[in-house]
Assembly symmetry: C2
Homo-oligomer: 502 residues x 2
């Protein structure tokens, strides 16, 4: 082992250790923190953010990085040199944004989020507009600090924050056929028979839903000795530290499928976190996830490709019925499979079904990109939003609260984040086809409650590799094809035509 | 306000903010952390300990401290100059212990604790002896680094870690009459009639006990919006940060009084933490507790002086019976008062009653002091322990597991810690007499469930003052007398003679 690399890794591990305590603070804030601790928590988080930013951009880190780059032992080792390249990428990006811009963004985030909340309540886009305009301007400055990435445009500089190597032009080339085929599919199933959602309307107490969630997490391979499941308003997965991956979900007495799929979704993120080689490589790119798109592929795979399959319900139904004290008596696996697979246009992204969800994402991506290209202004957003909702999903937006004010992301400056949701669906579909090729009897296995084929394939091909490759590179390596819209469309067309009896 | 002081305070607040995240890590470790996160948590805690030690002993802090000391505005303000004196005391003590000794102690702590656990299981003192010997030697080196405090002996250097200003000679002067009068009282009540403990033997489900605990915490004034109550193996109170004070307790279906008094005990610590002026003075001595003895006085006051009073049971019994679904039907407040006030010799400190508890503490104090004076060796401990148990409590120790191996403290190097438990009882008794003088109708108030007199007295006289004074100074200021054994003995004699019908 290169000693230059070992020193670099030790420094990074310590910085990551500080970051992990900040993540604990974030988790606690959403789960158990008393209300009156909010101000102190803010102080703790900003002190840690300052400390870790200093460490990631320090002269000492720069020296260690240069020594790693100059070391012939690193150059001769593909994994180590990939790791050092990613360290360099992150260092350069972090160093390019001046501290006063970071501070200004942080200040504006908190003001902007508060105003967004009020504006959404009042469904008043004009109230939010000046804050959004300032946020876009700040993000534009940030993107300019990063600089336009190779072969890209200004918006790509922000995409890189969430998905290293992503380019808007490449995303557009995949999203356009996806949008067209999706629209065709939605028109097609509109002529079919919509499935009954009756099995999802039974009332199930929270505790029974929680017990089922833990049962499913265990079955899919999530290690509850190295993680937990708690309840929060907004579900999330936090890969806190080695051996410590925390999931949250939320329960509604009606529609138990919300919590079930929410738990499987976060569980998928959690399996990625648990599969990363953090014990040896915590703080190094080798121990980290590739990006948000690949992360989302793992959550979507378990939620949609496993969890909404007919085989899954053949296995789960009797167990669910037992946990639910017979509430699902009389329903068949086919009933559950049908009920959990609809293709119905709706207004709110987070409530959308598997098929229409991607339309919500593409619309946001197009608006963000147009903003950064200077083709539209913030003031144009509501009109454009409503026009696209009509065009893509055929529905009228009654007000901005259920339109362009519905998501928190823009108020927080998360521009370039949305496309990773659909990238995740695309990657998941393409990976799942590869898994099926390797395991032709996958459905039989899943119907017996055996999910090891999915877990071990993702562990070996994705989790174990950390950030050695970019998403697109890895996709080609492990599926044999560049990322495309075809596998996702084959998956949705197959399922929805069956369910709608086309 | 002095600007030199303001700069010093801002630096300290930031250091304390880092410390508060480490405390969150400590709390989480005992409550919700997954088992496999233990190693990462150890890394997090040691990284934070290193960081905060650096900040508390840095040249920058030394400069700020000197500027504070030189500032005439500080000198002219009694509160600020008390605060700066305490900053200086802590800085000097921290700076005197070399980093390699700190590291050696930390390493030995973890080895020593593991061996202690096994030795206790096997009741084999010889297995633990070499580890204890090394720990005593390390603590002696640490004490020598601190230096013998003014007017004291080497052991006092360690006492100062837990109770600034404490001296073994002064403690001995109070403990000796306490021990003699306690022994007399125990002989006296041995001739009386022991109370029935039947009311404590009813079975009460955990949830009902938890609900009663929250009910009592609210009644005594603990702010549950600025704190919480969770379940752990070993109950504790963690004053995490401004607005964030976390208590824990444990439940046994039988003997609900364990959890009730455990909760009131930690609640008392919690009221002190919530009463400290942390919003303005977090990180400064002005926002911190005086020492462990004074802290323990607040927990003991609520547990024993309020919670084990007859007036308290007159108020609580109907509420407890309601929470417990009628399990206490037929018992009177007098029955509960009698059942919760015994004076019965027993082997284990943490299970001892209010009266005999102090004997366990004094025995440990005497052994620790003799070790540091070189009058005994570690090998002498079991014999001396058993001899003192016979002399002070009249019972035979059957094995070392129930004798000198019962407590974790020594394995962890906590030498000088034990006496603060009895100091707490002494302070509580003396304060409670002062509260009674100020509120002659205190029992009537408590019988109505009104505890504001106790809370507001302690808030004003103790909590609000932070560390402006040493325990002994504050005791004289607020009770009019130096600390003595008399109030505690008056309290115990009055109660136990009544209960045992003497």
């Amino acid at each position: 082992m290169s000693s230059a690399y070992a020193e670099l890794a030790a420094y990074a591990r310590k910085t990551a250790t500080f970051e992990s305590l900040a993540r604990l603070g974030g988790w606690d804030q959403e789960t158990y923190m008393p209300a009156k601790a909010a101000e102190a928590r803010g102080e703790q988080m900003s002190a840690m953010a300052e400390l870790t930013h200093q460490r990631w951009t320090s002269e000492e880190f720069a020296r260690l990085l240069e020594a790693g780059e100059a070391d012939p032992q690193v150059a001769g080792d593909a994994r180590l040199s990939a790791s050092v390249r990613m360290f360099r990428r992150d260092f350069d990006r972090r160093s390019r944004v001046p501290a006063d811009l970071v501070a200004e963004i942080a200040r504006h985030q908190s003001a902007s989020q508060q105003v967004w909340k009020k504006a959404r309540e009042a469904s008043d886009f004009e109230m939010f507009r000046p804050y959004l305009e300032k946020m876009i301007a700040l993000m534009r400055r940030k993107a300019e600090c990063y600089g336009i990435p190779e072969g890209g445009e200004l918006y790509d500089a922000l995409l890189e924050d969430y998905e290293p190597g992503a380019r808007a032009s490449r995303i557009e080339a995949i999203f356009t056929p996806l949008r067209e085929r999706l629209a065709g599919l939605l028109r097609e199933i509109a002529r079919g028979t919509a499935p009954s959602e009756a099995p999802l309307e039974v009332r199930v107490p929270e505790q029974a839903q929680h017990a089922l969630g833990l049962f499913v997490l265990r079955a899919i391979g999530f290690d509850l000795e190295a993680g937990r499941l708690d309840t929060t308003t907004h579900p999330f997965c936090e890969g806190l530290a080695p051996g410590d991956t925390r999931l949250t979900t939320r329960y509604r007495e009606q529609r138990f499928s919300d919590a079930l799929y929410g738990t499987m979704h976060e569980g998928g993120h959690g399996l990625y976190e648990q599969g990363l080689p953090k014990d040896r490589h915590f703080g190094e790119p080798l121990g980290e996830a590739i990006g948000l798109g690949m992360h989302e592929s793992q959550s979507r795979m378990w939620e949609n490709f496993v969890g909404r399959s007919r085989a899954f319900w053949e296995w789960l139904l009797p167990h669910a019925n037992r946990h639910f004290d017979g509430a699902l008596d009389g329903f068949t696996p086919l009933d559950l499979y049908r009920a959990t697979n609809t293709g119905k246009a709706s207004l709110i992204r987070v409530e959308a079904d598997e098929a229409t969800y991607n339309m919500h994402v593409m619309l946001r991506f197009e608006i963000e990109r147009a903003l950064f290209r200077g083709e539209i202004e913030a003031a144009d957003i509501p009109g454009l939003w409503n026009e696209k909702m009509r065009e893509y999903l055929g529905i009228e937006v009654p007000d901005d609260a259920r339109g362009c004010l519905q998501d928190v992301h823009w108020s927080f400056g998360l521009l370039g984040y949305f496309p990773t949701y659909t990238l995740g669906n695309l990657h998941a579909a393409q990976q799942f086809e590869a898994i099926r090729r390797a395991h032709p009897d996958l459905d039989d296995q899943m119907a017996r409650g055996e999910f090891g084929a999915v877990l071990s394939w993702t562990r070996e091909h994705i989790h174990a590799k950390g950030r050695q490759f970019l998403s697109d590179e890895l996709c080609e390596q492990i599926t044999g094809e560049p990322l495309s819209a075809d596998p996702l469309m084959r998956h949705l067309e197959g399922k929805l035509r069956e369910v709608y009896g086309i």
